[in-house]
Symmetry: C2
């Protein structure tokens, strides 16, 4: 690990300029900033060496990186609040604090994380919204910051991860629908590179194939992970010639919009089309009640935090049995919608 | 402003112990930790002096303090995501990053903030969930950390604030209901010390008094700020002998639960009881569509951030016209529920 002086020597610029570049001061030009950040990454620079040595290398902060922006009311809502609750339960034992690192949807998540790492104020990091390929894993691996991911990726640097068991959800949902006689089954998944959409869609194909059924390409609906996205899916489902008799909505925030779309067309979830989805606090108050799959998110947060701490030298002794990688189960909650 | 050495001298304990206490290391006993935190506050200690002077006093981080916990799906959901979006738009101009300071519902917010301040990693702070009396204002005022509050309080240290115009919402909602012939009008507000409940209830009384009407004490329903809370309010409303013909729900997450409660009793919002509420992304997808009051939260976030930066010497020059204190308007969105 190198300090700011080594970084300045390597770049042949002043410590002051390096410091200002690392800390995002507006009077450093963009080219210099890029050079500094690249060198910081290459040399394995650890920010704030002076402060860190004083504090024996610890900031007392665990960062949870999440996406923000107008699109993300879905996973950006109570989902994270419930996970945080579990994470904080564990951190409180060690007087560690949790902060959410908020990456705007207008910013490149990789560049964002690079800057956060350079600022060096977190002892450990939890990454969410993992992508199919995710360069953030490599960055954290190289800089040797302890981290865990909430979500899997094709990228794998050996880090611990926890993820919802979307394969299990696909299994339970589709077996239920097939048993109830459905043959034309649709699914919806979020737009974009987010990994869970791939996992879910792939496994749905596997399950249906067991029964000699296919997931038709026109029955895979991609949408924004929010209410308006669910409404748009309903519009699309209703206007298709080959209308499915059942649908599984992967994102929990899409449900209210999907319900509205059906109801406007005089259709009732459960009676006219089977609708299954992921649990949200609204699910049991919807009319009809949503049949859904519920993960225990507080316990997930506890597992996630314990597994992260198990990788950190100061805390590992307390968590010798932490599970490094785990698919987190979801439970079927019977409702009225299918 | 004092550094860690002055603090150690004052307390007559070692710098190492002070550092470990400030940084929440588990091997410092609680009594010592308290003494250190109190002295830090008293002396106006600024954390991480070495790192800070190197970085010219800036961490590049703005902290947004919010409550977490199983209860807070309401304001803890998309509300904050939309505010963050606006805040980040402003911070991005100056290469500042936003982090959410997550205070667990199991922790005292005052003690939490004291610890965060002692860790000193934010250049400025935004406080939300302001209480009727709020000791956090005094703490930040004394430690001279620039801050702004999203929400008012009886506590006032002259800091800038932005708040939703709950008086305006009460005006519009009640004038509308009275004009439509309602005389028995109920309201719901969150449990606890959160200031907005006081503001809203008080102003509802003022508006009704203009029309010679009263807000009966049994028509003020207090609930958790979430779906289950709304459902409980519906149960209570339906079982009261003196049933109101209209209700205004202050918290946006309560709406789905309230709808469910009415529907289970065979009642329809808008037809059998007028229901008004605060906007959420679900409002327009509910069946019937909710008549609601919508603040532009992204613009609110922009105003909030600009007003905060206007109080910070490094940025004030850019925001000479920032409004220090502002009631943020809400717009009536016509729906089908009343």
């Amino acid at each position: 690990m190198k300090g700011i002086r080594q970084l300045a020597d390597y770049l042949d610029i002043s410590i002051g300029t390096v410091s200002r570049a690392l800390n995002g001061k507006p009077d450093v030009n963009e080219e210099t900033r890029q050079r500094v950040l690249e060198a910081a990454e290459k040399l394995g620079y650890v920010a704030n060496q002076a402060g860190r040595s004083l504090r024996k290398g610890a900031t007392g902060i665990i960062g949870f990186m999440m996406q923000t922006g107008h699109d993300t009311t879905g996973q950006g809502d109570s989902f994270f609040m419930r996970v945080f609750d579990g994470v904080q339960t564990v951190l409180a034992r060690h007087k560690l604090d949790l902060v959410a690192l908020l990456c705007s949807s207008e910013e490149d998540p990789d560049a964002y994380l690079k800057r956060i790492v350079a600022r060096g104020f977190a002892d450990g990091i939890i990454l969410s919204a993992t992508r199919f390929q995710d360069a953030r894993f490599d960055l954290l691996y190289k800089t040797k910051i302890p981290f865990i991911t909430l979500g899997r990726s094709q990228t794998d640097v050996g880090q611990p991860w926890y993820d919802l068991d979307f394969e299990g959800m696909a299994d339970m949902a589709l077996e239920r629908l097939v048993a109830n006689g459905h043959k034309k089954i649709a699914i919806s998944r979020p737009y974009g590179e987010i990994n869970l959409g791939h996992v879910f869609e792939n496994h749905c194909r596997v399950v249906l194939a067991r029964h000699g059924l296919e997931l038709a390409q026109q029955h895979v609906y991609r949408s924004s992970p929010n209410e308006a996205g669910g409404y748009a899916v309903a519009q699309a489902v209703l206007s298709t010639r080959d209308r499915p008799s059942a649908i599984v909505l992967l994102n929990e925030a899409t449900v209210v919009g999907f319900y509205r779309g059906l109801q406007e067309a005089g259709l009732k979830p459960g009676r006219d089309m089977a609708v299954l989805g992921q649990y949200s606090p609204q699910a049991q108050f919807l009319h009809p009640v949503l049949t859904c799959f519920r993960p225990d998110l507080r316990s997930l947060g506890i597992g996630l935090a314990e597994s992260l701490l198990a990788t950190m030298p100061d805390f590992a002794q307390h968590y010798p049995k932490a599970v490094r990688r785990q698919l987190w189960p979801m439970t079927l909650i019977e409702g009225e919608s299918g």
